[in-house]
Subunit: 291 residues, 2 copies
């Protein structure tokens, strides 16, 4: 086997392995996922970077076809939901994975703490307004899951309301799937120790100070409560239509490769087709030649 073939075969094998390796389940145990592991992948950091570049190119091509198909009426959309503890690498995923895709085909929404106006509405109101149109990859940097994560941990909503929300989310996401949306939900799973190291770097480097917030350390005090809230949210909202993938994120290169591959698999599953010409090609060629 030539070197080229070899480097080609790894992402192909990983493409088949990544979904089953990372998918959650109704009795999912977060403690069973090692944040420093690389499920389904046999390579190292260097090969991971090469494979990411290859998957990125593939993603770029798939996305163009996906976008083109929508011009001819194909209704499919993709929604990638990113959830994680601070420093786990959401920003890096957006930059290095979503950055590989033509910006014209991406709808990126970052959900911060709701504004006063948003807080008056149902928690899904602002989510609904940010959904991707046909041919677009929607990316949520945080999402409606904050309303069952920080709300649970910090008691921002009563327990009954949190309960109601799990069901509301399931219904909401089932409706999305019914309307041709492929939903991929990703939890980037970082260890508490790795988070300490990343926060320490933000404190160390002057060009990273702006990313640091003293409140990040407060959140570490309730780390276990967050892990519980994630586990419950994942168990309660993992469905065939809107599955959760828990991506070990202590190794940034693995997390990026895994999310890029999950996204590429979603687009391959849609199998978008180049739209056929809705005009007479030869006639237009004659007109063009005469113009």
């Amino acid at each position: 086997m030539s070197k080229k073939q070899k480097s080609k075969s790894r992402p192909v094998a990983f493409a088949d392995a990544v979904g089953p390796a990372l998918a959650a389940s109704a009795d999912f145990e977060l403690a069973g996922v090692d944040p420093s592991s690389t499920p389904g992948y046999t390579g190292d950091k260097a090969s991971g970077a090469r494979d990411l570049a290859q998957v990125g190119r593939e993603l770029g091509e798939l996305q163009e076809r996906f976008h083109a198909a929508s011009r001819a009426g194909a209704p499919a959309k993709v929604l990638l939901v990113l959830q994680a503890m601070d420093t786990a690498g959401k920003g890096g995923i957006v930059r290095h994975v979503i950055g590989a895709v033509d910006p014209q085909g991406v709808k990126l929404s970052a959900f911060k703490a709701p504004t006063a106006a948003e807080a008056k509405r149902d928690f899904l109101w602002r989510i609904n307004r940010a959904l991707p149109q046909a041919g677009f990859i929607g990316v949520f940097d945080r999402s409606h899951y904050e309303d069952v994560l920080i709300h649970k941990v910090r008691g921002l909503s009563p327990a009954e309301e949190i309960e109601r929300r799990y069901g509301a989310i399931r219904e909401f996401e089932a409706a999305l799937a019914d309307k041709d949306t492929t939903v991929i939900k990703v939890m980037l799973h970082i260890s508490k120790d790795e988070q300490r190291a990343r926060l320490a770097e933000r404190l160390e480097r002057e060009d990273k100070h702006w990313k640091f917030n003293p409140a990040d350390i407060d959140e570490r005090e309730v780390w276990d409560e967050y892990m519980d809230a994630y586990q419950t949210a994942i168990r309660r909202t993992h469905t065939p239509d809107a599955p959760w993938f828990v991506v070990p994120a202590d190794r940034k290169w693995y997390a990026r490769l895994a999310v890029a591959t999950l996204l590429a698999q979603a687009l391959k599953g849609i199998d978008p087709q180049w739209p056929p010409a809705d005009f007479d090609v030869e006639e237009q060629q004659r007109r063009l030649a005469a113009s």
Copy 2:
């Protein structure tokens, strides 16, 4: 001089040359710009691709600092306006130049023919709603200039209204500059022959058919009227606060390198600074170690 130094010096020289080489003027003559030329640049296609990669990295770094500064209250914004005849390469600029920037710092707006609701409002209404916030690079794929270009060529608005719009645009863009927006207006200038070749390729390749529209050929019949409309619009709205750059676009690699460099120069002109820590670094380091 080592090879590395040599390859570094070209984009630096080009960075200084590109603005003066491409800037329009109040008596600008579009016929004086050769669409196949490469003003200010001494390299070829291969070096252009290498230099684009380097400017892209620089752009990525500048943009991160620019975005960071806005978190600490820096008010600066950038607005890149892209105008061109069909096939001139706006899409390629977005993909290959804007694609080099973190998607989290870009606000991309594509302006198609106005909707019925938009058409009832002043032509600047929808533009106003798409402006970038502090720390963002706004990119307009087409813009309010359509309202003095296609509207003039196709008589979609009366001549007096077109006249009024030049003044309205000047005022609008002056107000943007007053509110800390660096405005860069780019016309990608393609030749009619090169457009024929690119349209022919879209007709030739099945994966490009979706990009072809028979109406594109109709527009070729009024090519000269479009060139007149561009020249007039550029003359009437080229101001120190919102300059026009006419970028020869028959060579895609040059147009991409030129726009990337113009954008990098704009960010360098803003000279964004990393925000200082608004917390006691050592105190936070102690808290973190204990967490």
